[in-house]
Symmetry: C2
Subunit: 344 residues, 2 copies
């Protein structure tokens, strides 16, 4: 059923039908009602492609995600979708599944399909030539999470440096001095800031950081397991504590520590990063940093829609950069006797 057939049924021209669809106020009440009734009866929906050919908007935004198996990203995605749905937009989710090659390809597709805006999650990095191309297109883009993109795009980030600094301070408070680091290498820029936070605190406390206690590992359970075994194997004596840049890394490390017969936190204390839902279920419960994922998504989407609206109203755009704060979750694994006790 197309607009012409509706028009015939109603005994009017296609233009009038089009009007009740797009500018109903400009149609006489009686005609409008008659047409609307037929539209409802026939369950007519305008052809999306024909509309796309005429309009310059699709009520769709694109969301590019590094991995879908990582619940971190999905929580952010959920925040984005929530806002988008409220605004009557549909979210086109693109999953790179760890393949950086796909990033540009997906963005190309999104541009091709004329999405109204794009959100990039922890982008693996787009070269300047590419970002300039996007800018020429005048496509609103916002990045969520750390990335190496140099373009002057809207962004939402978490203050990882501060978060890691805070948790490092706790470790020192607990009396740990020889602190190892298992650093996931996945989104590199991000762990770099974490490491800075760690170093800053150590330095401020006058403790020398031993470089050979910092290990780059895969950003997952296996990485943590392997890294921990390696660290214990290499060091002359056990570290007091190990700081990790991700909960999954911590899980793997804990498994390794237990397997080697050591106790947590008595022999080695440990911290995670992310406050994954499993972090209270491992033994002992994991001290970690809670990141405001959902909120990142919500803010990211809001910033994007602001940009989209500015564009529609031909106002000039000012870049927005939002930085959110994380929160430490002190649990048993760090050996801090004082402030323990959380169930979920």
């Amino acid at each position: 059923m197309n607009i012409k057939q509706i028009a015939e049924k109603a005994g009017v021209s296609v233009a009038t039908v089009s009007r009740v669809l797009n500018h109903p106020e400009s149609v006489a009440v009686k005609t409008r009602e008659k047409i609307q009734k037929i539209i409802d009866e026939e369950e007519y929906t305008p052809n999306w492609f024909a509309q796309g050919l005429n309009f310059n908007k699709t009520k769709t935004i694109g969301l590019v995600i590094p991995h879908t198996l990582n619940s971190t990203y999905m929580e952010i995605a959920n925040g984005v979708e929530e806002v988008a749905r409220q605004k009557g937009y549909i979210t086109f989710m693109c999953n790179m599944e760890g393949n950086p090659e796909l990033e540009k390809e997906y963005i190309d597709q999104l541009v091709n399909r004329k999405v109204d805006g794009i959100i990039l999650l922890y982008s693996l990095g787009l070269d300047d030539e590419y970002t300039e191309w996007i800018d020429e297109l005048d496509m609103p883009v916002v990045t969520i999470g750390e990335s190496k993109i140099k373009a002057d795009w809207d962004s939402v980030k978490v203050d990882n440096r501060a978060a890691m600094a805070e948790i490092t301070s706790y470790m020192l408070e607990c009396g740990h001095r020889r602190i190892g680091v298992l650093r996931g290498t996945d989104p590199e820029a991000e762990t770099m800031y974490m490491l800075q936070g760690f170093r800053n605190v150590m330095k401020a406390s006058g403790i020398r950081v031993e470089e050979k206690m910092i290990f780059d590992v895969g950003d997952n359970i296996e990485g943590g397991y392997i890294g921990m075994k390696k660290m214990i194997g290499v060091l002359p004596k056990l570290p007091d504590a190990v700081i990790t840049t991700g909960d999954e890394i911590a899980y793997g490390a804990m498994d390794a520590i237990k397997e080697m017969g050591y106790r947590i936190p008595e022999d080695i204390a440990i911290t995670g990063f992310g406050n994954d839902r499993m972090s209270t279920l491992v033994e002992p419960k994991l001290t970690t940093v809670e990141l405001p994922y959902r909120k990142m998504g919500i803010y990211g989407a809001r910033v994007l829609f602001d940009h989209i609206e500015e564009k529609e109203q031909k106002k000039k755009h000012v870049t927005r950069s939002i930085k959110l704060q994380a929160k430490s979750r002190i649990r048993k694994s760090c050996g801090h006797e004082g402030r323990i006790g959380e169930m979920f």
Copy 2:
């Protein structure tokens, strides 16, 4: 840059440009090369909407998912995407985030955007009127996982009944007799089959199933925790073992058991379902059932593309139903001394 401009640059008609895009063999080699060169230089891509208006295919499939935070669904989704990408298709992922209302809405959108086919993951159920409507549209659909849909659509399922029967047998082998069940209610049809498998084995072994040992709980960590506490509170004496319909439920239950001071598996043995990546990291490692998620996605996508091709070639379609087998993962939590030992 549009087709007309390309045509002008090349000094040919738009028809010829269109031909090198769609039927290159029908264009003289020299003309073709000249045009192709310009296309490449200008980085011209045909307008997606204009194409959609003419073609009846979009090289896009839709994938409707109940939750994105559940890694189960995402693994299936990954399988689907993998196949789709190989075929040169893009996957449009729609996340219902547990809101059944959204299912039809999303499918409407997908139909509207003329996707070439739709995959429904653990559909919450569509009424007959709706499924008939889809059938009239002649839209290829495949369902993955149990659902209450009555339509004669292609489907890929796991034999949950057999899987649960197998794991129940193991529990009996381990000497457990009084076995409780924590049954997640989320995708109801699915857990129903599991329960059947459980009952069948118990019956075959001549053990009476006590109905008051079967609890319906939320399909997540919290559900398992609450359900387990309730079960222990209600029963006159501890069950020998508890079977759950999901790993997350098991995690919560384990937490409750430990919290109440009981040992696993000595006091209460436990099993999960799903072989979640955390299942080897909880203490003790969880006996569970490994489901071929990725494979389900891959098969589902293949079946869909078969259907799409049949439709293109106007062959008549025969419904395909695939049933995959699961595999038990015996670990420490079930108290089976014999066959333990898996790391990852």
